[in-house]
Subunit: 442 residues, 2 copies
Amino acid sequence: MTRKQLHLNAFLMGVGHHEAAWRHPRTDATRVLDVAHFQDLARLAERGKLDSVFFADNLATGPRVRNNAPAIFEPITLLTAMAAVTSRVGLIATASTGYNEPFNLARKFTSLDHISGGRAGWNIVTSGGVDEAANFGYDEVPDHAGRYDRAAEFVDVATALWSSWDENALVLDEESGIFADSDKVNTIDHRGPRFSVRGPLNSPRSVQGRPLLVQAGSSASGKDFAAQYAEAVFTAQRTLTEGQDFYRDLKSRLRRFGRAPDDLKVLPGIVPYLADTEADAVGLEAEFTDLISPEYSLRQLSWMLGTDLSGHSLDSPLPPLPPIEQIRGNKSRYQLVKNLAETEELTVRQLIGLLGGGRGHRTFAGTPEQLADELELWFDGGAADGFNIMPPYLPGGLDIFVDQVVPILQQRGLFRTEYTGTTLRGHYGLPALPSRTTSLKG
Amino acid sequence: MTRKQLHLNAFLMGVGHHEAAWRHPRTDATRVLDVAHFQDLARLAERGKLDSVFFADNLATGPRVRNNAPAIFEPITLLTAMAAVTSRVGLIATASTGYNEPFNLARKFTSLDHISGGRAGWNIVTSGGVDEAANFGYDEVPDHAGRYDRAAEFVDVATALWSSWDENALVLDEESGIFADSDKVNTIDHRGPRFSVRGPLNSPRSVQGRPLLVQAGSSASGKDFAAQYAEAVFTAQRTLTEGQDFYRDLKSRLRRFGRAPDDLKVLPGIVPYLADTEADAVGLEAEFTDLISPEYSLRQLSWMLGTDLSGHSLDSPLPPLPPIEQIRGNKSRYQLVKNLAETEELTVRQLIGLLGGGRGHRTFAGTPEQLADELELWFDGGAADGFNIMPPYLPGGLDIFVDQVVPILQQRGLFRTEYTGTTLRGHYGLPALPSRTTSLKG
Ligand SMILES: Cc1cc2nc3c(=O)[nH]c(=O)nc-3n(C[C@H](O)[C@H](O)[C@H](O)COP(=O)(O)O)c2cc1C
Ligand SMILES: Cc1cc2nc3c(=O)[nH]c(=O)nc-3n(C[C@H](O)[C@H](O)[C@H](O)COP(=O)(O)O)c2cc1C
């Protein structure tokens, strides 16, 4: 009997997730602008038979640009360039429901799915940043509930557009001159509170029918949204217990939407520092921590906590924080950081060190074997269906994961030794969609 | 002394510009969905040392999908996949100012420019279709003047965003930890009637500073817009005299915006049917004409003329047409078709035959030598700075142009035998932009 398989996504970011990765001798900072760097990473992920690569996104750059700028390329464009040099690995782009038009975004993902032969995925985000709002005509961030309402209508419209061409609508009958069977290309006639979209989409159904739907919200509304729409969820969980709670909670919400637990894969993030000995790995992590700019980190932390910390002493604990109701942006990240600081009684400096590698995600320092143990523990322990691997530096941090951790997981029968399908949905073990997906709501 | 050089753009569309190209034995219809087909076309254009390739776009598909569907891929995505397999040829994508957000679009073009090493171009369109309007919440097409006002503000915002990072803003100083010089990354603080955008863009200045700006409007407001903003203009001109008038008119408008005649290149379109003898070329064109579906063509014509022609006899002249003031969409195409039908006293069937190849663009049937003569005549005669080559079928129609027409133009000293630069602006003989482009208005 074969064991249940875990799923691995490479979360890519510039020359590494660590905020100071670009300063470390293991990276070449100039590659942040080099498409060949990202194409190499895609090839590397494919060599490791990973399910997918993924880019986060942010529709603004603020004063923190002084020390880092994580989202230099628009993800769909960049992933298209990476699609051109690979044939199997999935390609997941973050895109905002707050500041796009459903027709345009649905179409771009269909293009990426056509171009990549069925490897597109969409990380659905609502864009909670105030800097982002200011680039799209808003003085304030639209409120949390409103953002999720818009996201739901947006995804409903996009899903309808993706189903507006039946699978066999493209006829191409040279004899009769029938290009498409117009009975199989239908308007969607959506008229909702936020969008009116007639359709059909101007592109035939793509290989997967539509992109894999991914989400990363962790508030109650975020989790309900994921339970209704998402096929994979990225999440930041720091301990096995927290991971198990989140996993159980999220899976339990699926039934309400007529979905089975396996219809949605939960992928906690992990930032791995790997070396031949645990001591060396810990030393490596410390090298990165030493490169952190407190100025940058304070800005990041201020942003996460909705509290201006500039001028606050690094060696004191956090000042009193506003209640969660006042957080308009990322409520779950606020909660995570607040809990962490309080339960472990951290000073601001200690907190910054802990967050530097993964902005709240779990970091891990050890040998490849130890990391494999840890992943197996979470997988078997009901905290994960797979993992969002966040290399602190790139390409080296992904290279070592692919060359040294993946083979161990393969030996243990936990991870594929070859791709068995060609689509991203296939890699995640999701069934192909019916020709006409009327709705995900079942 | 070297002769002034002409510019050549390959206007690509599915398996050819002729509306029935997909039915002809010289094409493989299934390639409309095949990214490798488009990558081959890009390589082919680069082999011919062409300035650029170009995709039109349309944000809707209507009932005409039964016989053809020209815009299956989103252009920026498709051109990114083509960028990945080429290194010199320019990449011009159509994108709408009507149904995008300036921040998002500016960023996508910056991504394409980074990815391609400075080869991005933007064909700026205002989207005059009623099917398009219905996909973006409008019951009617926004009026012509309003569309151009929005386009102007849109391009102003985009241009400001592209200048929000100075050329040397990205510092990457590992020692000090300075990633970017924040004094050289500035907000734009745009507050206009249609857009409020704070900026800066979240991406460093790209190789060209911004994409080449291309436009194709031919109404008075369209020409003024081009004179103010565009660096290249695509246009449909059927006779040398019309071409000369348009050229003179457009160039004369430049001074008002502080620009020199050479700052904007005029590229009339031409649909070439080529063969070893003129008779064979004419025969080839007739083969395509015979494949036209009158049903499809009547729909296209109805759309161009703002008049429902379904049921109208093919062998009668056009019915009375509404006055041009009532045309909300493409006023200049309406005028061109109306003039053509009236001055040549055509029946609807004859008109359809004439329009089938290039939707109003000039078609040409002859030998490669004859085509070269014709291009030279227009170029020397002050009607063109270059041409928008619209192969009726693909890839064959581009192949024969590259292999048989380009060498003649090169022998005559009219066209480059090697690329001399690496950027699209360079190919069009435009100077590099200063580090901080405040505005194109001079
Ligand atoms: C791994 C991961 C990646 C994320 N990527 C993005 C991103 O690229 N852009 C973004 O705006 N938000 C991103 N988020 C934030 C989530 O989309 C979401 O807004 C956040 O978790 C807050 O959710 P909540 O409002 O439901 O608490 C990410 C979150 C996680 C855990
Ligand atoms: C070669 C050429 C290509 C064009 N491509 C597009 C296009 O891709 N999408 C579009 O909406 N309009 C396109 N147009 C139409 C023009 O952008 C413009 O709307 C049209 O010429 C009408 O201009 P006017 O309103 O100033 O008369 C094109 C026109 C020409 C001549």
